[in-house]
């Protein structure tokens, strides 16, 4: 294998292609490279975060339904940052505020509990799905940006043909190769972004559904307790 950067025109060296390209194409390539890096960073981050969240929520709910005393459980979990824990904390706080006074408006308390937990759930989902839009944007825009770089590079290659008065393949090929490299990077960034966006939006939807189920269950429990039952 050849040692470091083979600048031969016939090899597919990204660095050589980048260096030979026009400055507009260079800007496009650099932007797409950054987009690709950011995409993969988000992919890894989402993968870690969603997995951790899902596992933590499952464990939290298991423990919640097993817990005998909600107050004790609340004390233990009051610092938890899991979405379901946050919903639980918000519900318990609202419950305590509503039941602090002497006379309790059961209907109003139920409504407030529901609203509070729904708001907490929505906020958690908002936080969770933050930056998912970046994946969507990269997935839809990166091919066009790459195509722009390609078109620009091919235009430049053709003007090069015109100025060189020579249309042999050896004259045309490098310019077109480096122009096509822009589209390649664009697709390289866009394809994982699209796949990851679909995958992670599905994951977020599942977490949201699980969160809503937990909130409904907790609301049912609190509502039952409001009526004096256990």
């Amino acid at each position: 294998m050849n040692p470091v950067f083979n600048m031969d025109a016939a090899t597919m060296s990204p660095v050589a292609l980048f260096i030979q390209a026009d400055w507009v194409v260079k800007i496009v390539m650099a932007g797409l490279l950054i987009a690709s890096i950011w995409t993969w960073a988000l992919i890894v981050a989402f993968w870690l975060r969603l997995g951790k969240t899902r596992r933590g929520m499952a464990r939290f709910e298991r423990e919640f339904w097993k817990a005998d005393d909600i107050d004790v459980f609340y004390k233990a979990e009051s610092e938890n940052t899991l979405p379901s824990a946050r919903v639980f904390i918000a519900g318990v706080k609202e419950w305590r505020r509503s039941t602090a006074g002497g006379s309790i408006d059961k209907g109003g308390t139920r409504e407030r509990l529901a609203t509070t937990m729904a708001a907490a759930s929505a906020e958690e989902i908002d936080t969770l799905s933050d930056r998912l839009n970046i994946l969507a944007t990269v997935g839809s825009v990166a091919p066009f940006v790459g195509l722009f770089g390609t078109v620009w590079g091919i235009m430049r290659a053709f003007t090069g043909i015109a100025s060189a008065q020579n249309s042999s393949l050896a004259v045309v090929a490098p310019g077109i190769a480096e122009a096509l490299f822009a589209t390649a990077i664009g697709l390289f960034a866009a394809i994982p972004a699209v796949i990851a966006y679909n995958r992670f939006s599905h994951g977020v939807n599942r977490i949201e559904a699980a969160l809503n189920r937990f909130a409904d269950g907790f609301h049912t429990t609190l509502s039952r307790q409001l009526d004096g039952g256990r």
């Binding site: 294998m1 050849n2 040692p3 470091v4 950067f5 083979n6 031969d8 025109a9 016939a10 090899t11 597919m12 060296s13 990204p14 660095v15 050589a16 490279l33 690709s36 890096i37 950011w38 995409t39 993969w40 960073a41 988000l42 992919i43 890894v44 981050a45 989402f46 993968w47 870690l48 975060r49 951790k52 930056r131 042999s168 393949l169 050896a170 090929a173």
Partner: protein
């Protein structure tokens, strides 16, 4: 940016660097199958491209005059109808007392020039046949006219005044021929013989143009044919023509079939055929392109023509 995103960013950066590094050192590149080499090929630029493969036209030039060239040559009128311009040596015979001023005649190639027969020198000039030259072939007096430009004294400087290159160059003198060398030659201009090669094939366009040429050439005779009756001009007769190479009819045109015959004009059928035959007989020979006379795909040696009265 939380911890997971930092981890992700680190992993992504490292992954990209590793990937592009591997690509840069040529891990995934093909092992350079062919360096973009340019093999020089020979290119010959030609202006004229024959889309149909045909042999070049072989043209036999007309026979050259072997007349003694002692006077100022004048341009001979080119023979009319020759395919290529023949090169008649425009050498009028200088008005010597013995020889009459006869223009040099290009000898036809088919006929070899007869050997000059020994003949007595005739003092009396013979009237020369009409020649296509400007030099008036009048019977010269026994004594050459003083106004005759070519003087026999300076034959070596005899130069033509014509525009042709061969006419203006000095001519060799052929004084060894006898004065009777012209005997047996005709005064008709010799025609160059063009042996047009057979065309590779005859296509529909050429066939159509031949049909149109026939129609155009028999038009005068076709106009003379009187329409025998109402409806006769609706009859379309396919006449089969057998033609010689010079355009004359090799046989009487033969009726192949007729269309457009109905009850009204049925009695004119034979009359229409006869009128067509008469038109062809009146206006032949036809002048048609020689290369399409006979080709492997057919030609005008045996061609069908749609004859219809106008």
């Amino acid at each position: 940016m939380d911890r997971a995103e930092k981890v992700g960013l680190g992993i992504a950066v490292v992954g990209h660097i590793v990937l592009f590094g591997l690509l840069s050192v040529g891990l995934l590149s093909t092992p350079n199958p062919e360096k973009l080499q340019q093999h020089p090929i020979e290119v010959s630029l030609v202006k004229d491209v024959g889309l149909e493969a045909t042999a070049p036209q072989a043209v036999t030039p007309p026979a050259q005059s072997v007349a003694p060239d002692q006077g100022a040559p004048e341009d001979a009128a080119p023979p009319a109808g020759a395919v290529t311009e023949p090169q008649p040596a425009p050498a009028p015979v200088p008005p010597t007392p013995a020889a009459k001023p006869a223009p040099a005649k290009p000898a036809p190639t088919t006929k070899p020039a007869p050997a000059p027969k020994p003949a007595p020198v005739r003092a009396k000039p013979k009237p020369a046949p009409p020649a296509p030259e400007k030099a008036a072939p009048k019977a010269a007096p026994a004594k050459p006219a003083a106004s005759a430009k070519p003087t026999p004294a300076t034959p070596s400087k005899a130069k033509g005044s014509g525009s042709k290159a061969e006419a203006t160059t000095s001519k060799p003198r052929g004084s060894r021929l006898g004065p009777n060398f012209l005997e047996g030659l005709t005064d008709k201009p010799s025609t160059s013989k063009s042996t047009a090669p057979v065309a590779a094939k005859i296509d529909a366009r050429a066939l159509a143009s031949i049909q149109q040429a026939i129609a155009r050439q028999i038009q005068p005779c076709a106009d003379r044919q009187v329409n025998p009756g109402p409806g006769a001009n609706e009859i379309v007769t396919v006449l089969n023509l057998r033609l010689n190479e010079d355009g004359t009819l090799a046989a009487t045109p033969r009726m192949v079939r007729q269309t457009g015959v109905n009850g009204d004009n049925d009695r004119y059928r034979q009359r229409v055929v006869d009128l067509g035959v008469a038109a062809f007989k009146g206006c032949s020979p036809l002048k048609l392109p020689a290369e399409y006379y006979s080709t492997p795909a057919g030609g005008w040696n045996n061609i069908n023509y749609n004859w219809q009265l106008r």
